[in-house]
């Protein structure tokens, strides 16, 4: 399967790149990592839980996206990978 990619590198957006994997592996690069790392990680974990995904490589390149944007970009990336 090809990786799924969604989002942009504009301010307040993020690019998610996801690949199939046997376990969850999340990497976050964020301009606000020092301030919001835990919250970003939480959004990703919660979204994967909702989708019942136990295995996925997730790369999040964040330019200060709000939680709902992170969630939307992650879901879009996953759907594109599956498509």
């Amino acid at each position: 399967m090809k990786p799924g990619i969604a989002g942009t590198l504009e301010s307040n957006d993020a690019i998610f790149t996801v690949r199939p994997a046997s376990t969850r592996h999340v990497v976050i690069h964020s301009v606000v990592d020092a301030f919001y790392h835990d919250q970003i990680a939480q959004v990703i974990e919660t979204t994967l839980d909702e989708l019942a995904i136990t295995g996925l490589d997730v790369l999040c390149e964040d330019k200060g996206a709000l939680d709902y944007t992170l969630r939307a970009r992650l879901i879009a990336a996953i759907q594109r990978m599956e498509a």
């Binding site: 307040n12 020092a34 301030f35 919001y36 330019k63 200060g64 709000l66």
Partner: protein, 505 residues
């Protein structure tokens, strides 16, 4: 001990005691010593170093009117490196990205102390990394003038870029290929440095105007080029097109209108940032619409203010530095456009500083907190990104100080519980204008009353913080580093905050 703004100041350092504390002190002035001999002309920097002479442990100063096009500071740095001089203190009025060579001098211990009003770019990196052996002291523009005239900052040799020089050693800012206009920040150095070198690329028989008085000049160094005119123009002299910035500018102008600050004879200053200029544009259209003529605009002057002067909207421009070439041309030809010294501009002890006459000033912030304390010196990580410049001077002097900023930038709230670094104390700040509301300092009951019946979105600053947190979430508090790398000085030279080495995680 804790200073008046609640920050811990190391023992032995003078602690900030309030924005008006300077009033209980009297002015200390060194005497100005006109030179007994005419200046000597040199064509090599090495010869000037030998003649001065420049030796280990000295304090050397520079002005920043050539901004990011400056070649003079860099040439002097290269000569320091070549000679292997040690333990120097550098006192440029500002440090820009073009002064990258300074990083090398700091790394290797040639420069062990730095005193400046503004720093950004590569030279800041070794300081953040703790490589400056002494301290970084950051003044305001007015505070630097005070420090120099009082002998608190004694300067051994001043290297002053002069766009044109005559045979008597007088200098002009408006002639020559690197014409940069007003030389306001160079005046204290010229009058009080023990040895003064004008550095120029243009020697003429007669000058159009005299910005630097040759009576205080010891040497003139003639070089091929003192600066790149491209770099002189400040990068932010255009009105923003960003809708959020324009919305903030509109609300700021409406606020000033509602409180009656835009009335015949008023005076104003804005920074050169896109949002600040957009406020000026809004004020301009209100002035036209209501037939209002102001007294003056001051500070760093752009072509936009030149147009307003020429349109008859102001009586005068008081210009401490030109932000673009249109301002340089206007200064050269228009008698109503006057150059002023850093001291006249913002020195608390000047007999009549321009900042004290301001009806209002529009300023920016990288952070502002619930006490209205403003940070323009570091980012939220504690990394050096600028400095006061005239921020604290104008904020203190102006009758109304308006901070304009986005409520959040790339998720990060600009309104904080507590600013990372304190540049301008809340007591000097009156109003915060964001895209999601305007907060007035609670003790400005006059401004609160004047806007009570307006349709302006007036809210408390606590409310704005809540809104920012509701949008972005509450950011994690970063503990500042433990090692002090410098101090932020208030206009009177007292320590208003410390600069800490950012934690490297």
């Amino acid at each position: 001990m804790r200073n008046a703004a609640g920050r811990v100041v190391p023992d032995g350092m003078p602690a900030f005691a309030g924005a008006d504390a300077y009033r209980s002190h009297s002015r200390v002035l060194l005497s100005q010593e006109p030179r007994k001999h005419p200046p000597v002309f040199y064509s090599s920097l090495s010869a000037v170093f030998a003649a001065a002479p420049v030796v280990d442990g000295m304090t050397l100063s520079f002005h920043h009117h050539l901004r990011n096009g400056d070649k003079v500071t860099n040439a002097v740095c290269a000569e320091i490196l070549r000679r292997g001089l040690k333990n120097l203190t550098l006192a440029p009025s500002s440090v820009f990205p073009t002064n990258a060579i300074l990083a090398e001098l700091i790394q290797a211990g040639h420069v062990t102390n730095l005193r400046t009003n503004y720093i950004n770019g590569p030279a800041a990196l070794p300081i953040e990394a703790g490589k400056l052996r002494g301290l970084l002291l950051m003044d305001t523009h007015g505070g630097r003038a005070r420090a120099i005239e009082s002998g608190e900052l004694p300067i051994d040799v001043a290297f002053l870029a002069a766009p044109a020089v005559d045979r008597n050693g007088n200098g002009s800012g408006t002639m020559g290929p690197a014409a940069c206009g007003s030389l306001g920040y160079a005046q204290p150095d010229l009058h009080y440095a023990k040895y003064v070198v004008l550095v120029t690329d243009t020697v003429v028989d007669s000058l159009d105007r005299i910005d630097l008085d040759g009576a205080f000049v010891d040497a003139v160094l003639v070089v091929d080029s003192i600066g790149d005119p491209e770099g002189i123009v400040s990068g932010t002299t255009r009105i923003t097109r960003d809708p959020v910035g324009l919305k903030i500018a509109r609300d700021a102008a409406r606020f000033l209108w509602e409180v009656g600050a835009i009335r015949p004879g008023f005076s104003m200053q804005t920074g050169a940032g896109g949002t600040s200029l957009a406020v000026a544009a809004q004020v301009r259209s209100l002035m036209r619409e209501h037939g209002i003529r102001g007294s003056f605009a001051s500070g760093g002057i752009t072509g936009y203010y030149v147009d307003m002067l020429e349109e008859g909207l102001f009586d005068h421009l008081y210009d401490v530095q030109c932000f673009d070439l249109s301002a340089v041309r206007s200064l050269a030809k228009n008698a109503l456009h006057q150059a002023i010294s850093a001291s006249r501009y913002g020195n608390p002890f000047d007999h009549d500083p321009i900042v004290d006459q301001l009806s209002f000033v529009i300023l920016g912030a990288t952070e502002i907190d619930l006490n209205f304390h403003v940070n323009v010196t570091t980012d939220s990580f504690g990394r050096l990104i600028g400095g006061s410049g005239g921020h604290a001077d104008t904020a203190h002097g102006a009758k109304i100080t308006v901070i304009t900023t986005n409520l959040t930038k790339a998720r990060l709230p600009i309104v904080k519980q507590r600013v990372t670094t304190l540049t301008t104390p809340g007591e000097d700040v009156d109003v915060l204008v964001t895209e999601r509301g305007i907060a007035i300092r609670p003790d400005r009951i006059d401004l609160i009353a004047a806007t009570r019946n307006s349709r302006l979105p007036i809210r408390t600053i606590e409310d704005l913080l809540q809104t920012a947190h509701a949008l972005s979430g509450v950011p994690k508090e970063l503990p500042h580093g433990t090692r002090i790398i410098g101090h932020v000085l208030y206009r009177d030279g007292t320590v208003i905050d410390n600069l800490y080495q950012p934690s490297q995680d």
